[in-house]
Symmetry: C2
Subunit: 366 residues, 2 copies
Amino acid sequence: MAVRHYTLDFKLSAPADIPSTVRAVQCIFQEQEMTETIHDTEGHGYLATFIGKNGRFAVLRMHSHGLMTFDLQSCEGDDAAQVDNLLNALEKKMKTLCHGNIKQIKRLPALRRGDKVDRYWPTADGRLVEYDIDEVVYEEDSAYQNIKILHSRQFGNILILNGDVNLAESDLVYTQAIMGSGKESYAGKEVLILGGGDGGILCEVVKLKPKMITMVEIDQLVIDGCRKHMRKTCGNVLDNLKGDCYEVLVEDCVPVLKKFAQEGRTFDYVINDLTAVPISTAPEEGSPLFQTPTWEFLRLILDLSIKVLRPTGRYFTQGNCANLTEALRQYEELLGRLSCPVGFSKEVVCVPSYMELWVFYTVWKK
Amino acid sequence: MAVRHYTLDFKLSAPADIPSTVRAVQCIFQEQEMTETIHDTEGHGYLATFIGKNGRFAVLRMHSHGLMTFDLQSCEGDDAAQVDNLLNALEKKMKTLCHGNIKQIKRLPALRRGDKVDRYWPTADGRLVEYDIDEVVYEEDSAYQNIKILHSRQFGNILILNGDVNLAESDLVYTQAIMGSGKESYAGKEVLILGGGDGGILCEVVKLKPKMITMVEIDQLVIDGCRKHMRKTCGNVLDNLKGDCYEVLVEDCVPVLKKFAQEGRTFDYVINDLTAVPISTAPEEGSPLFQTPTWEFLRLILDLSIKVLRPTGRYFTQGNCANLTEALRQYEELLGRLSCPVGFSKEVVCVPSYMELWVFYTVWKK
């Protein structure tokens, strides 16, 4: 069962005469054999609902200040051409009735509600965007998160963790940005990747002949899904958890970082590709599956990462969408309050599947 | 007057018991003093509408196959926190009622209907996308088209012609792609730009020290708007219609192309930046403001452009969004049927403000 929800809105320069407009458009619904109910809005304009065959349902509202909104819900299996005709008839009638008085007509692509494949994955700054998704390729609930891999016609497969678009096969530019946008030399270097379960960073760094890459990803089910369905991103690097120059530890990165720090183990590059919302199991020893507040978690990861970073090293991370200026400001303030003083630079990047510009940070020890 | 339209949908694994679910959620609307009307859907599930204070209006629908949809329309000036509480209460109640039976809960960012500034500019492949637009910077109806320049927080100002997103100040990559993505040498060359009223191509080619650029843009009002409001795109090149190495003809390009072809005038580069839907005034001499069908127009422009292209020259154009594969196929077929045989290559580019991948073509004489 799925519903298509059509909207058709008219903005008028001057308020319309409600009774005559209503009379004129009513015949459209009568022709479609829709049953009308007029509601008492207690002075908030005209409101009528219409029930038609096949479960069709419409709402016609005339607000007092010259806005008329129309909603049409049509159930799966309904005659789409007939629905289109109804909308066309209403648009045509309104144009005739209010010619010269219409400032704007807005007919949006229909909302798809209750579809088997969900196409709406809002941006980080809260905007509604519809993706060209046609298939659920992989879906699992791990101990840490809901994991989806969905197929987009233009972006290829997209990894979505807890409802957040993480990475699509089209998004090499994300991986390049979080590796320093081609300005670094990884040859012979030691690299630590935090998270990165899609294998994108691992795959690209391996090509650059580093001495050793250690990747710490908490979620085996992310690795499993991406190894199978994100091969344009990860190539074959996830086929084995150990390669000539890399090792993947399927562990929570917090205790691993602490251990590295204690042992004095350091890296030339630390790449933090953790999800925005932390899923660490152990911010404090012994507390299982405890979620620290985001900012404390970010600070913990940053402090530990800087501890294991060589004096000449670079720490890379994705920040946030460009529009969340307050969150970006807070993050930069946090960078100024670390145990070890650091400098930083940032870059704004257009990641194809994100539908919004994204900020990446480079951090170094002062 | 503007309306926020909230949706909150529940997908259940098994159909819920409608009477008991309805009884359980009704109290939420009673608490909000909303007046209920139950509608006869003739066997298409349960449907109730609710009218509340301040013109608030809600629709609760329980479809027979385990989909429950909820709509809430709230008028400008309504208490947003109260509306949020209502949605939260419904979500919480449903979670309690149907725990374990809920497959998905979907709450989309509210649709903004009748707003002063329109944020919805669907993609070329027909998807609903909301932009972060906060201001109408420029709006004119010229003899040829509706011209809007809208401000986006992340993309800067965006030029929208007849409802199609044309170019934003963030979209240098569009200009680079339609100039051959940095693989061409423009120094000392003669260049013809068709359209391009935003000044982006002109501005970038001027920097490369060509011998002469001729730009033919039909719409003075596009030039006027962009000169003022798209300066990150056009710099100062539109301040004068003539510069050291360029000339802008404010004319329909079809007769100009015909004249050039007759005179035997040729160019090293022809860059076709015309809008997808043609607005030529004169496909045939003497027929004012006549719109030829798109494909015929495209063929006309292509044939004339190839005529004025030097044997070693390059013709660049934007094609279409990557998802409109049938339109792209037809265009490529058209390239095979020109008066003069041509070869072509294409490139898929992510233009930030487009929210979809875009195809660009390079065409040359065989």
